[in-house]
Symmetry: C2
Subunit: 147 residues, 2 copies
């Protein structure tokens, strides 16, 4: 089992970052404009759609200002059953986000792509919370030919 | 042992990407302006310096237009003995770069930071090769409080 790891520091309060992870206003601002469903209830389902497909997540853990954990319940075969986890801590003027996309079975080429793309989307979340404007799909940063 | 993985697609020839990885002109353009040493000979040593410290790499593999592999021989304790590996393949109009920073002993918080930062620097390499202008340190994109 292999994981994608990232760390970003957002100059804002943990409450605002938590909101970006649990509300459609937030999720449509940094990940994909086509985000629907329920992100602020345990067992809520979130649907994220992109030009090339999408992911359905079940909300597994919610701890206000501290963390969010999703289980991938539909999407590309490599993603199903994996977990996406965000841990928040306040440190001086920053909210530190420790990100893990856990439980990949093999370090396939698609995992390399998803790692770079997650980093880019986390920078989009940082921009959204700090400035009010992220780079959600379809206005996301293109990293390779699979984008 | 855990690895950092990334994938970027650069709209250029593998020869130009290989050059960005093996010449000081290239390395100072996308990673750090303070890059010195020898990147185009086996066992050459490259010194990369940043505001907060740096890394010395020994060139372990060179395959023109195909790949580069460095061993970290000095730097932060977590990096020493790890390997940084770039594999290049041509695919339509792109050179695909598969990146691995291999052999971390533990998925420490610093590894999360380095993962996001590597993604950002690989996007800088893509910009350098495609447009002639990257975002090398000290003009790099800041991702968190450790930057």
């Amino acid at each position: 089992m292999v994981d994608i790891l990232h760390r970003v520091g957002i100059e804002s309060d943990p409450g605002k970052v938590y909101s970006a992870l649990t509300t459609l206003d937030g999720l449509t601002g940094w990940w994909t404009a086509d985000s629907t469903g329920t992100g602020d209830e345990i067992d809520g389902i979130l649907q994220f759609r992109f030009a090339a497909g999408g992911f359905d997540m079940k909300v597994r853990e919610l701890e206000p200002e501290k963390g969010v954990r999703w289980q991938v319940v539909d999407g590309p075969e490599e993603w199903i059953g994996t977990y996406v986890d965000f841990r928040l801590t306040q440190k001086d003027d920053y909210t530190i986000v420790l990100f893990r996309h856990e439980g990949w079975r093999e370090p396939v080429e698609f995992m390399h792509h998803c790692s770079t793309k997650w980093g880019s989307y986390l920078m989009s979340m940082k921009a959204l919370v700090e400035t009010g404007k992220g780079a959600a799909h379809p206005n996301d940063v293109r990293i390779d030919d699979w984008d």
